[in-house]
Protein backbone atom coordinates (compact mmCIF):
# COMPACT_ATOMS: atom_id res chain seq x y z
CA UNK A 1 0.00 0.00 0.00
CA UNK A 2 1.20 3.54 -0.84
CA UNK A 3 2.48 5.21 2.37
CA UNK A 4 0.49 8.07 3.88
CA UNK A 5 2.95 10.27 5.73
CA UNK A 6 1.66 12.15 8.74
CA UNK A 7 3.28 14.10 11.56
CA UNK A 8 2.15 13.76 15.15
CA UNK A 9 3.22 16.36 17.72
CA UNK A 10 2.77 15.94 21.44
CA UNK A 11 1.61 19.28 22.89
CA UNK A 12 2.08 17.87 26.40
CA UNK A 13 5.80 17.46 25.81
CA UNK A 14 6.58 20.53 23.69
CA UNK A 15 8.37 23.26 25.65
CA UNK A 16 8.45 25.79 22.76
CA UNK A 17 12.25 25.82 22.64
CA UNK A 18 12.15 26.48 18.84
CA UNK A 19 14.94 23.98 18.14
CA UNK A 20 12.70 22.57 15.36
CA UNK A 21 12.55 26.02 13.75
CA UNK A 22 16.30 26.57 13.83
CA UNK A 23 17.26 23.11 12.57
CA UNK A 24 14.75 23.40 9.73
CA UNK A 25 16.39 26.64 8.61
CA UNK A 26 19.81 25.01 8.69
CA UNK A 27 18.79 21.71 7.07
CA UNK A 28 16.81 23.31 4.25
CA UNK A 29 18.86 26.50 3.83
CA UNK A 30 15.75 28.60 4.52
CA UNK A 31 16.54 32.26 3.74
CA UNK A 32 16.52 35.08 6.27
CA UNK A 33 12.99 36.25 7.06
CA UNK A 34 11.37 32.98 5.94
CA UNK A 35 10.38 30.05 8.13
CA UNK A 36 9.04 26.63 7.15
CA UNK A 37 7.84 25.97 10.69
CA UNK A 38 7.13 28.14 13.70
CA UNK A 39 6.00 27.77 17.29
CA UNK A 40 2.96 29.24 19.04
CA UNK A 41 2.27 29.27 22.72
CA UNK A 42 -1.42 29.51 23.62
CA UNK A 43 -2.46 30.40 27.17
CA UNK A 44 -6.06 29.82 28.19
CA UNK A 45 -8.09 30.39 31.37
CA UNK A 46 -8.30 32.95 34.14
CA UNK A 47 -5.50 33.57 36.64
CA UNK A 48 -4.51 31.53 38.59
CA UNK A 49 -6.20 28.68 36.69
CA UNK A 50 -4.12 29.06 33.52
CA UNK A 51 -2.99 26.40 31.09
CA UNK A 52 -0.50 26.74 28.26
CA UNK A 53 -0.28 24.66 25.12
CA UNK A 54 2.79 24.85 22.86
CA UNK A 55 2.49 23.88 19.22
CA UNK A 56 5.08 23.61 16.48
CA UNK A 57 3.24 24.52 13.25
CA UNK A 58 4.04 23.96 9.58
CA UNK A 59 2.39 23.04 6.27
CA UNK A 60 -0.34 20.50 7.03
CA UNK A 61 0.12 18.55 3.77
CA UNK A 62 -3.68 18.54 3.56
CA UNK A 63 -5.56 15.65 1.94
CA UNK A 64 -7.77 18.28 0.24
CA UNK A 65 -5.10 20.85 -0.55
CA UNK A 66 -6.48 24.17 -1.89
CA UNK A 67 -2.93 25.23 -2.79
CA UNK A 68 -2.75 22.37 -5.33
CA UNK A 69 -6.20 23.16 -6.73
CA UNK A 70 -5.40 26.85 -7.16
CA UNK A 71 -1.93 26.48 -8.68
CA UNK A 72 -2.20 27.49 -12.36
CA UNK A 73 0.98 25.75 -13.51
CA UNK A 74 0.92 22.50 -11.54
CA UNK A 75 3.97 23.57 -9.48
CA UNK A 76 2.14 22.65 -6.25
CA UNK A 77 1.55 18.95 -6.56
CA UNK A 78 1.01 15.72 -4.65
CA UNK A 79 4.37 14.21 -3.76
CA UNK A 80 5.49 10.88 -2.27
CA UNK A 81 3.31 9.49 0.51
CA UNK A 82 0.53 12.02 -0.19
CA UNK A 83 2.68 15.00 0.82
CA UNK A 84 2.27 18.41 -0.81
CA UNK A 85 5.39 19.49 -2.71
CA UNK A 86 6.42 22.45 -4.87
CA UNK A 87 8.21 22.06 -8.20
CA UNK A 88 10.55 25.07 -8.12
CA UNK A 89 11.03 25.03 -11.89
CA UNK A 90 7.30 25.21 -12.64
CA UNK A 91 6.56 27.88 -10.01
CA UNK A 92 6.06 31.39 -11.48
CA UNK A 93 5.67 33.05 -8.07
CA UNK A 94 2.06 34.15 -8.75
CA UNK A 95 1.31 33.75 -5.01
CA UNK A 96 -2.12 32.21 -5.65
CA UNK A 97 -1.19 29.33 -3.33
CA UNK A 98 -0.32 31.76 -0.52
CA UNK A 99 -3.86 33.16 -0.80
CA UNK A 100 -5.31 29.65 -0.93
CA UNK A 101 -3.56 28.28 2.19
CA UNK A 102 -5.70 28.60 5.34
CA UNK A 103 -2.61 27.98 7.48
CA UNK A 104 -0.39 30.74 6.07
CA UNK A 105 2.32 28.11 5.72
CA UNK A 106 3.87 29.46 2.52
CA UNK A 107 6.21 32.35 1.79
CA UNK A 108 8.08 33.82 -1.17
CA UNK A 109 11.67 32.61 -1.39
CA UNK A 110 14.11 35.36 -2.45
CA UNK A 111 14.83 33.28 -5.58
CA UNK A 112 11.23 33.81 -6.69
CA UNK A 113 9.53 30.49 -6.02
CA UNK A 114 7.15 29.72 -3.18
CA UNK A 115 8.60 27.75 -0.28
CA UNK A 116 7.20 25.72 2.62
CA UNK A 117 7.73 22.56 4.71
CA UNK A 118 8.38 19.44 2.60
CA UNK A 119 8.28 16.91 5.46
CA UNK A 120 12.03 16.64 4.63
CA UNK A 121 11.26 14.44 1.60
CA UNK A 122 14.92 14.72 0.54
CA UNK A 123 15.46 12.25 3.41
CA UNK A 124 13.20 9.79 1.56
CA UNK A 125 10.56 9.47 4.28
CA UNK A 126 13.03 8.84 7.10
CA UNK A 127 13.25 11.07 10.20
CA UNK A 128 12.56 14.75 9.53
CA UNK A 129 15.17 17.28 10.64
CA UNK A 130 12.87 18.81 13.26
CA UNK A 131 12.19 15.35 14.70
CA UNK A 132 15.88 14.53 15.11
CA UNK A 133 16.70 17.57 17.26
CA UNK A 134 13.57 17.83 19.40
CA UNK A 135 14.94 17.60 22.97
CA UNK A 136 11.62 16.36 24.38
CA UNK A 137 10.95 13.93 21.50
CA UNK A 138 7.54 15.43 20.95
CA UNK A 139 7.69 15.21 17.11
CA UNK A 140 6.81 11.90 15.45
CA UNK A 141 6.74 11.23 11.71
CA UNK A 142 5.76 8.15 9.78
CA UNK A 143 3.34 6.18 7.65
CA UNK A 144 -0.25 6.23 8.93
CA UNK A 145 -1.12 3.37 6.55
CA UNK A 146 1.27 1.10 8.45
CA UNK A 147 -0.66 -0.11 11.53
CA UNK A 148 2.61 -0.97 13.27
CA UNK A 149 4.12 2.53 12.93
CA UNK A 150 4.57 4.79 15.93
CA UNK A 151 2.30 7.47 14.44
CA UNK A 152 -0.50 4.92 13.94
CA UNK A 153 -0.11 3.74 17.53
CA UNK A 154 -0.17 7.30 18.92
CA UNK A 155 -3.21 8.28 16.86
CA UNK A 156 -5.00 5.10 17.97
CA UNK A 157 -4.27 5.51 21.66
CA UNK A 158 -4.12 9.25 22.39
CA UNK A 159 -6.63 12.10 22.03
CA UNK A 160 -5.58 14.30 19.13
CA UNK A 161 -6.71 17.29 17.09
CA UNK A 162 -5.79 19.21 13.94
CA UNK A 163 -5.55 22.97 13.49
CA UNK A 164 -8.67 24.70 12.06
CA UNK A 165 -10.56 21.54 11.03
CA UNK A 166 -13.40 23.85 9.92
CA UNK A 167 -11.26 24.84 6.92
CA UNK A 168 -12.21 21.40 5.54
CA UNK A 169 -8.77 20.49 4.20
CA UNK A 170 -8.16 17.32 6.27
CA UNK A 171 -4.70 18.22 7.62
CA UNK A 172 -2.04 15.53 8.07
CA UNK A 173 -0.30 17.17 11.01
CA UNK A 174 -1.94 15.99 14.22
CA UNK A 175 -1.53 17.35 17.75
CA UNK A 176 -1.76 15.07 20.77
CA UNK A 177 -3.63 16.79 23.59
Amino acid sequence: MEPRYVMVLDTRRCVACSACVIVCKTENDVPEGGFRDWVVSETRGRFPALSTENRSLRCNHCAFAPCIDNCPTGASHRGPGGTVQIDRVKCTGCKNCISACPYDARFVHPRGFIDKCTFCMHRKGAYTACQTVCPTECIHFGDANDPGSEVSRLLATRDHKVVAPEAGTRPRVHYLV
Partner: protein, 311 residues
Protein backbone atom coordinates in the same frame (compact mmCIF):
# COMPACT_ATOMS: atom_id res chain seq x y z
CA UNK B 1 -8.75 34.64 28.37
CA UNK B 2 -7.15 33.08 25.34
CA UNK B 3 -3.81 34.55 24.35
CA UNK B 4 -1.66 33.27 21.51
CA UNK B 5 2.00 34.22 21.32
CA UNK B 6 3.81 33.46 18.08
CA UNK B 7 7.43 32.58 18.61
CA UNK B 8 9.79 33.00 15.65
CA UNK B 9 7.18 35.01 13.76
CA UNK B 10 7.48 35.03 9.99
CA UNK B 11 6.44 37.95 7.80
CA UNK B 12 3.46 36.04 6.40
CA UNK B 13 2.20 35.32 9.91
CA UNK B 14 2.37 39.04 10.63
CA UNK B 15 -0.32 39.28 7.90
CA UNK B 16 1.87 41.24 5.53
CA UNK B 17 0.24 41.54 2.12
CA UNK B 18 1.69 39.33 -0.58
CA UNK B 19 -0.39 40.96 -3.33
CA UNK B 20 0.31 44.66 -3.73
CA UNK B 21 -1.11 47.28 -6.13
CA UNK B 22 -0.65 45.11 -9.22
CA UNK B 23 -3.50 42.66 -8.57
CA UNK B 24 -6.26 45.24 -7.85
CA UNK B 25 -5.15 47.26 -10.90
CA UNK B 26 -5.27 44.09 -13.02
CA UNK B 27 -8.73 43.18 -11.69
CA UNK B 28 -9.98 46.73 -12.29
CA UNK B 29 -8.64 46.99 -15.85
CA UNK B 30 -9.76 43.41 -16.64
CA UNK B 31 -13.29 44.30 -15.52
CA UNK B 32 -13.16 47.58 -17.45
CA UNK B 33 -12.10 45.75 -20.64
CA UNK B 34 -14.87 43.17 -20.10
CA UNK B 35 -17.42 45.98 -19.68
CA UNK B 36 -16.28 47.73 -22.87
CA UNK B 37 -16.45 44.44 -24.81
CA UNK B 38 -19.99 43.78 -23.58
CA UNK B 39 -21.33 47.32 -24.08
CA UNK B 40 -19.93 47.78 -27.59
CA UNK B 41 -21.15 44.31 -28.64
CA UNK B 42 -24.62 44.68 -27.15
CA UNK B 43 -25.04 47.97 -29.02
CA UNK B 44 -24.33 46.14 -32.31
CA UNK B 45 -26.64 43.24 -31.40
CA UNK B 46 -29.54 45.46 -30.34
CA UNK B 47 -29.40 47.74 -33.32
CA UNK B 48 -27.35 46.14 -36.14
CA UNK B 49 -28.42 48.67 -38.77
CA UNK B 50 -28.30 51.71 -36.47
CA UNK B 51 -25.78 54.49 -36.89
CA UNK B 52 -23.00 54.68 -34.33
CA UNK B 53 -20.82 57.72 -33.90
CA UNK B 54 -17.20 57.47 -34.99
CA UNK B 55 -16.12 57.87 -31.34
CA UNK B 56 -18.35 54.99 -30.21
CA UNK B 57 -16.93 52.74 -32.93
CA UNK B 58 -13.36 53.63 -31.97
CA UNK B 59 -14.11 52.89 -28.29
CA UNK B 60 -13.98 49.15 -29.14
CA UNK B 61 -10.20 49.59 -29.30
CA UNK B 62 -10.10 50.64 -25.66
CA UNK B 63 -10.81 47.04 -24.52
CA UNK B 64 -7.52 45.49 -25.75
CA UNK B 65 -5.64 48.62 -24.68
CA UNK B 66 -6.79 48.65 -21.03
CA UNK B 67 -6.59 44.85 -20.84
CA UNK B 68 -2.97 44.97 -21.99
CA UNK B 69 -2.12 47.52 -19.29
CA UNK B 70 -3.83 45.24 -16.73
CA UNK B 71 -1.91 42.22 -18.01
CA UNK B 72 1.30 44.21 -17.67
CA UNK B 73 0.42 44.92 -14.01
CA UNK B 74 -0.24 41.18 -13.45
CA UNK B 75 3.07 40.35 -15.10
CA UNK B 76 4.84 42.80 -12.77
CA UNK B 77 3.33 40.96 -9.79
CA UNK B 78 4.93 37.64 -10.78
CA UNK B 79 8.07 36.84 -8.82
CA UNK B 80 9.48 35.06 -11.90
CA UNK B 81 8.33 37.26 -14.76
CA UNK B 82 10.11 35.43 -17.56
CA UNK B 83 8.43 32.14 -16.61
CA UNK B 84 5.03 33.44 -17.73
CA UNK B 85 4.82 30.92 -20.68
CA UNK B 86 4.40 28.22 -18.00
CA UNK B 87 0.75 29.32 -17.69
CA UNK B 88 0.28 27.94 -21.20
CA UNK B 89 2.08 24.64 -20.64
CA UNK B 90 -0.77 23.36 -18.44
CA UNK B 91 -4.50 23.70 -18.07
CA UNK B 92 -5.63 23.30 -14.47
CA UNK B 93 -9.45 23.13 -14.45
CA UNK B 94 -9.70 23.81 -10.69
CA UNK B 95 -7.45 26.90 -10.84
CA UNK B 96 -9.27 30.13 -11.82
CA UNK B 97 -5.95 31.75 -12.75
CA UNK B 98 -5.39 28.99 -15.31
CA UNK B 99 -8.87 29.64 -16.75
CA UNK B 100 -8.05 33.35 -16.86
CA UNK B 101 -4.82 32.78 -18.75
CA UNK B 102 -6.62 30.74 -21.42
CA UNK B 103 -9.66 33.08 -21.59
CA UNK B 104 -7.26 35.95 -22.33
CA UNK B 105 -5.98 34.01 -25.33
CA UNK B 106 -9.54 33.99 -26.71
CA UNK B 107 -10.13 37.65 -25.85
CA UNK B 108 -7.40 39.22 -27.99
CA UNK B 109 -8.26 37.76 -31.44
CA UNK B 110 -12.01 38.22 -30.88
CA UNK B 111 -11.82 41.80 -29.68
CA UNK B 112 -9.27 42.69 -32.39
CA UNK B 113 -11.52 41.32 -35.16
CA UNK B 114 -14.58 43.04 -33.71
CA UNK B 115 -12.74 46.36 -33.34
CA UNK B 116 -11.29 46.09 -36.88
CA UNK B 117 -14.82 45.70 -38.22
CA UNK B 118 -15.82 48.87 -36.38
CA UNK B 119 -13.26 50.99 -38.25
CA UNK B 120 -14.92 53.04 -40.98
CA UNK B 121 -13.98 55.79 -43.45
CA UNK B 122 -10.55 57.33 -43.07
CA UNK B 123 -9.61 54.89 -40.29
CA UNK B 124 -10.16 51.86 -42.53
CA UNK B 125 -8.47 53.55 -45.48
CA UNK B 126 -5.30 53.91 -43.42
CA UNK B 127 -5.06 50.13 -42.88
CA UNK B 128 -2.66 47.93 -44.83
CA UNK B 129 -4.48 46.13 -47.70
CA UNK B 130 -4.59 42.75 -45.93
CA UNK B 131 -5.88 44.26 -42.70
CA UNK B 132 -8.45 46.24 -44.71
CA UNK B 133 -9.65 42.97 -46.25
CA UNK B 134 -10.00 41.49 -42.73
CA UNK B 135 -11.88 44.62 -41.60
CA UNK B 136 -14.25 44.31 -44.59
CA UNK B 137 -14.83 40.64 -43.72
CA UNK B 138 -15.45 41.43 -40.03
CA UNK B 139 -17.88 44.21 -41.00
CA UNK B 140 -20.14 41.92 -43.06
CA UNK B 141 -23.50 41.80 -41.20
CA UNK B 142 -23.56 38.03 -40.54
CA UNK B 143 -19.92 37.92 -39.37
CA UNK B 144 -20.31 41.09 -37.31
CA UNK B 145 -23.26 39.58 -35.47
CA UNK B 146 -21.31 36.42 -34.65
CA UNK B 147 -18.29 38.42 -33.56
CA UNK B 148 -20.50 40.59 -31.34
CA UNK B 149 -22.02 37.50 -29.69
CA UNK B 150 -18.58 36.01 -29.14
CA UNK B 151 -17.20 39.32 -27.85
CA UNK B 152 -20.08 39.73 -25.39
CA UNK B 153 -19.79 36.11 -24.18
CA UNK B 154 -16.00 36.21 -23.67
CA UNK B 155 -16.33 39.68 -22.07
CA UNK B 156 -18.86 38.26 -19.60
CA UNK B 157 -16.54 35.35 -18.78
CA UNK B 158 -13.64 37.77 -18.30
CA UNK B 159 -15.69 40.05 -16.01
CA UNK B 160 -16.89 37.15 -13.86
CA UNK B 161 -13.39 35.66 -13.78
CA UNK B 162 -11.97 38.81 -12.13
CA UNK B 163 -14.25 38.11 -9.15
CA UNK B 164 -13.92 34.31 -9.18
CA UNK B 165 -10.13 34.64 -8.95
CA UNK B 166 -10.69 35.91 -5.41
CA UNK B 167 -13.83 33.98 -4.47
CA UNK B 168 -12.11 30.63 -5.15
CA UNK B 169 -9.89 31.24 -2.11
CA UNK B 170 -11.87 29.60 0.67
CA UNK B 171 -8.88 30.27 2.94
CA UNK B 172 -9.76 34.00 2.87
CA UNK B 173 -13.23 34.30 4.42
CA UNK B 174 -13.80 37.82 3.06
CA UNK B 175 -13.38 36.65 -0.53
CA UNK B 176 -15.14 33.32 -0.16
CA UNK B 177 -18.44 34.51 -1.64
CA UNK B 178 -20.13 33.58 -4.93
CA UNK B 179 -21.40 37.19 -5.13
CA UNK B 180 -17.91 38.51 -6.03
CA UNK B 181 -18.11 37.26 -9.65
CA UNK B 182 -21.39 39.04 -10.51
CA UNK B 183 -20.36 42.07 -8.39
CA UNK B 184 -17.10 42.57 -10.31
CA UNK B 185 -18.88 41.95 -13.63
CA UNK B 186 -21.51 44.60 -12.82
CA UNK B 187 -18.88 47.02 -11.56
CA UNK B 188 -16.86 46.37 -14.75
CA UNK B 189 -19.92 47.29 -16.85
CA UNK B 190 -20.56 50.41 -14.81
CA UNK B 191 -16.94 51.64 -14.98
CA UNK B 192 -16.86 50.88 -18.73
CA UNK B 193 -19.97 53.03 -19.28
CA UNK B 194 -18.36 55.78 -17.17
CA UNK B 195 -15.12 55.65 -19.17
CA UNK B 196 -17.06 55.81 -22.45
CA UNK B 197 -18.94 58.87 -21.15
CA UNK B 198 -15.61 60.70 -20.86
CA UNK B 199 -15.31 60.62 -24.67
CA UNK B 200 -17.26 62.74 -27.14
CA UNK B 201 -20.01 60.27 -28.02
CA UNK B 202 -23.20 61.76 -29.52
CA UNK B 203 -26.08 62.92 -27.32
CA UNK B 204 -28.24 59.84 -27.93
CA UNK B 205 -25.37 57.51 -27.02
CA UNK B 206 -24.55 59.65 -23.99
CA UNK B 207 -28.11 59.36 -22.67
CA UNK B 208 -28.13 55.61 -23.35
CA UNK B 209 -24.86 55.10 -21.50
CA UNK B 210 -26.02 57.24 -18.54
CA UNK B 211 -29.26 55.26 -18.28
CA UNK B 212 -27.41 51.97 -18.46
CA UNK B 213 -24.90 53.13 -15.85
CA UNK B 214 -27.73 54.09 -13.51
CA UNK B 215 -29.17 50.57 -13.79
CA UNK B 216 -25.76 48.95 -13.27
CA UNK B 217 -25.08 51.08 -10.18
CA UNK B 218 -28.44 49.97 -8.70
CA UNK B 219 -27.48 46.35 -9.37
CA UNK B 220 -24.08 46.90 -7.79
CA UNK B 221 -25.69 48.33 -4.64
CA UNK B 222 -27.97 45.26 -4.43
CA UNK B 223 -25.03 42.86 -4.93
CA UNK B 224 -22.94 44.66 -2.31
CA UNK B 225 -25.90 44.30 0.07
CA UNK B 226 -25.99 40.55 -0.62
CA UNK B 227 -22.22 40.34 -0.15
CA UNK B 228 -22.48 41.87 3.33
CA UNK B 229 -25.57 39.82 4.17
CA UNK B 230 -23.68 36.66 3.28
CA UNK B 231 -20.75 37.67 5.50
CA UNK B 232 -22.71 38.86 8.50
CA UNK B 233 -25.11 35.88 8.63
CA UNK B 234 -22.24 33.38 8.29
CA UNK B 235 -19.93 31.70 10.75
CA UNK B 236 -17.83 33.46 13.36
CA UNK B 237 -14.94 33.49 10.84
CA UNK B 238 -17.15 35.16 8.20
CA UNK B 239 -18.40 37.75 10.65
CA UNK B 240 -14.84 38.58 11.73
CA UNK B 241 -13.92 39.00 8.05
CA UNK B 242 -16.97 41.22 7.47
CA UNK B 243 -15.94 43.25 10.51
CA UNK B 244 -12.85 44.40 8.60
CA UNK B 245 -15.20 46.44 6.38
CA UNK B 246 -17.93 47.08 8.95
CA UNK B 247 -16.27 48.78 11.89
CA UNK B 248 -12.71 47.64 11.15
CA UNK B 249 -9.63 49.25 9.64
CA UNK B 250 -11.03 49.34 6.08
CA UNK B 251 -14.43 50.86 6.95
CA UNK B 252 -13.64 54.54 6.32
CA UNK B 253 -11.94 53.96 2.98
CA UNK B 254 -14.57 51.44 1.80
CA UNK B 255 -17.60 53.53 2.69
CA UNK B 256 -15.95 56.82 1.71
CA UNK B 257 -14.52 55.83 -1.68
CA UNK B 258 -16.70 52.92 -2.79
CA UNK B 259 -20.15 53.33 -1.24
CA UNK B 260 -20.40 57.14 -1.00
CA UNK B 261 -18.05 58.40 -3.72
CA UNK B 262 -18.36 55.52 -6.19
CA UNK B 263 -22.03 54.58 -5.83
CA UNK B 264 -24.24 56.99 -3.84
CA UNK B 265 -23.11 60.31 -5.39
CA UNK B 266 -23.10 58.97 -9.00
CA UNK B 267 -26.50 57.34 -8.39
CA UNK B 268 -28.13 60.63 -7.35
CA UNK B 269 -26.12 62.63 -9.89
CA UNK B 270 -27.13 60.45 -12.82
CA UNK B 271 -30.75 60.32 -11.64
CA UNK B 272 -30.69 64.16 -11.69
CA UNK B 273 -29.20 64.13 -15.18
CA UNK B 274 -32.02 61.82 -16.31
CA UNK B 275 -34.42 64.54 -15.18
CA UNK B 276 -32.60 67.10 -17.31
CA UNK B 277 -30.18 68.69 -14.81
CA UNK B 278 -26.89 68.69 -16.68
CA UNK B 279 -23.74 68.64 -14.58
CA UNK B 280 -20.04 68.32 -15.35
CA UNK B 281 -19.22 65.79 -18.08
CA UNK B 282 -16.19 64.60 -16.11
CA UNK B 283 -17.23 64.60 -12.46
CA UNK B 284 -19.58 61.60 -12.16
CA UNK B 285 -17.71 59.27 -14.55
CA UNK B 286 -14.45 59.97 -12.71
CA UNK B 287 -16.09 59.21 -9.35
CA UNK B 288 -17.40 55.90 -10.73
CA UNK B 289 -13.96 54.96 -12.07
CA UNK B 290 -12.26 55.84 -8.77
CA UNK B 291 -14.95 53.87 -6.89
CA UNK B 292 -14.44 50.82 -9.15
CA UNK B 293 -10.69 50.83 -8.56
CA UNK B 294 -11.16 51.39 -4.81
CA UNK B 295 -13.61 48.45 -4.62
CA UNK B 296 -10.95 46.03 -5.91
CA UNK B 297 -8.08 47.70 -4.05
CA UNK B 298 -9.79 47.56 -0.66
CA UNK B 299 -11.24 44.06 -1.13
CA UNK B 300 -7.85 42.66 -2.17
CA UNK B 301 -6.13 44.29 0.82
CA UNK B 302 -8.83 43.42 3.38
CA UNK B 303 -9.14 39.86 2.06
CA UNK B 304 -5.45 39.25 2.73
CA UNK B 305 -5.99 40.41 6.29
CA UNK B 306 -8.83 37.90 6.78
CA UNK B 307 -8.02 34.33 7.79
CA UNK B 308 -9.19 31.25 9.67
CA UNK B 309 -6.90 32.11 12.59
CA UNK B 310 -5.30 28.73 12.12
CA UNK B 311 -2.61 28.95 14.80
Amino acid sequence: MNEIEILKATPHLAREHWWGWEIPVYLFLGGLAAGIMILTSVRVLRDPEGERSETFRLLSWLAPLVLSIGMFALWLDLERRWDVPRFYLAFRPKAPMSWGAWILLAVYPLVALFALGELRGRWRDRLAPRLRAVADWADAPAIKRRLAWGNAAVGTLLGIYTGVLLSAMSARPLWSSAVLGPLFLTSGGSTAAALMLLFRVDERERRGLSKLDLGLICMEVALLGLFFLNLMTGSDTSQRAGGLLLGGPYTASFFGLVVFGGLAVPLFGEAREMRGHNGSRWFLPLLILIGGLALRWILVAAGQASSWNAL
